[in-house]
Amino acid sequence: MGLLNFLSKSDRPKLVHLPSGSFTIDREGKIMTSTLPQSFSAARMQEIGQPVIASFQAAKVAQMPLAEVIIHFAALKILARELRGGAIIFLMPQCLNQPLRRPKH
């Protein structure tokens, strides 16, 4: 047991891979469901989910309730929909070679 771990280089880096997928988080910041791989930890999901929930709550306080927030980073798009105080959050890593617009049919 653990033989393979022993043989592998233990201090190999773990570059954080950003997967595509979604997760739901409740109003207390607890992860409820996830379609993301296990390698993407719950702590990471909470790191993403908490500012999203805080933003929804603060928008409500500012008399500007929001049902959806899309956060555009250069290499990642996060889409969050409000769910009774919590949120469902979609992660969409952006790639350089993907088409900018959906082709018209």
Binding site: P13, L15, E47, A54, S55, V61, E68, F73, A74
Partner: protein, 361 residues
């Protein structure tokens, strides 16, 4: 470059470091001084103590990975050229690296031909550094552009746009002969146009039929304009502290009003990135709570972007039952624009792009 270029090579594989140090120092014509580091911490310490022109980094490294090193290096040393040399072929890491501002992303060469291309690209990066020069016309002010046209004895019409405002300056044989600005002509128009800090310009063909309305030499015109700008600036500086904030807000007020002309825009709120800087708004009855939400949201998502290493936060778009709202950092300001709920997502993004290109920082 007068001095010998310095390259810092970072990889956790000592054999790789030895090989590439030899290759880079002996096969590049500029004979660079190549230093090596086997950990991110060591590389950052070297960057702290010496000035380098180029940092070549592997992504897969123990403890501190390449993206973490790049993120720190890009923030602390904006002049430093950054190249990734890695075995990772995944498109996502390439995208994230470019989003963080690296100059080149290379897969470790596996053939002589690839090695040749890599060496050429490094040579080219270092020579670009040596030649210097401008990366665009954004750093040129209108004064510079008018001076260039006049010194080269050109005949042209400069069409300048600043947001919704538009102006034209007629230059004939190196002399400014006429100007038209928003609601004014001749010298006042010229002075008004030269107060614009950003925008775009284009050279139209010379209009020889234009009647001359300006008879002052271009040097005189530029001096008069500089004097008027100085006087306006000193008046602002002399105003009481409460007034200076108001003056600053007033200076951006016309800009906000211009933005309100754009399709679907219901309100605009601008904040400085500094917490104590004044806020300015158009179309909002009570901007304070919106400003608080905006500042907190941008701060949180900026931190999230840094933690996830996904590059700069570009925009946040919220959709609610009453309206859509977009937040974006714009240089030294942060902007919040409210849209009608019926505006299409594509149109909203286009409008925000339009605003970002016209925003005076």
């Amino acid at each position: 470059m007068v001095t010998q270029p310095k390259i810092l090579l970072l990889d956790d594989d000592q054999d790789f470091l030895d090989l590439y140090r030899e290759m880079l120092s002996q096969h590049l014509s500029c004979l660079p001084d190549v230093r090596v580091a086997s950990t991110g911490a060591r590389a950052l310490a070297l960057l702290e103590s010496e000035q380098f022109h180029l940092l070549i980094v592997d992504l897969n490294m123990p403890k501190m990975d390449g993206l973490q090193v790049l993120s720190i290096a890009r923030r602390k040393y904006p002049e430093l050229r950054l190249v990734i040399l890695t075995g990772i072929r995944e498109e996502q890491f390439r995208t994230r690296a470019y989003a963080m501002g690296v100059d080149q992303y290379w897969i470790k060469p596996e053939s002589d031909q690839e090695m040749g291309l890599f060496m050429e690209s490094i040579e080219s990066l270092l020579s670009r550094e040596a030649k210097g020069g401008f990366r665009g016309v954004q750093s040129k002010s209108l004064v510079d552009i008018v001076q260039l046209e006049c010194l080269s004895q050109s005949s042209t019409v400069l069409k300048i746009t600043n947001g919704a405002a538009e102006g034209k300056i007629w230059i004939q044989n190196g002399e400014v002969i006429h100007a038209e600005g928003p609601g004014m002509t001749a010298e006042p128009a010229f002075q008004r146009i030269l107060t614009w800090k950003t925008g775009s310009f284009e050279n139209l063909p010379a209009d020889l039929a234009q009647t001359r309305t300006i008879f002052t030499s271009y040097q005189g015109l530029l001096l008069n304009t500089a004097q008027a700008l100085d006087e306006a600036a000193s008046q602002l500086a002399e105003a009481p502290s409460e007034g200076s904030a108001a003056a600053e807000a007033a200076s951006s007020a016309p800009q906000l009003a211009e933005l309100s002309q754009l399709n679907g825009v219901e309100f605009v709120l601008a904040l400085g990135t500094d917490e104590n800087s004044p806020q300015d708004s158009w179309g909002l009855e009570n901007p304070k709570p919106v400003a608080e939400w905006m500042r907190q949201t941008l701060e949180d998502f900026n931190s999230l972007g840094e933690a996830l290493q996904v590059g700069q936060l570009q925009q946040v778009v919220g959709t609610g039952p009453q309206r859509k709202v977009a937040l974006a950092p714009m240089g030294k300001s942060e902007l919040c624009v409210g849209f009608s709920p019926s505006i299409a997502a594509e149109e909203l993004r286009e409008t925000m792009k339009n605003i970002s290109s016209k925003w005076v920082f």
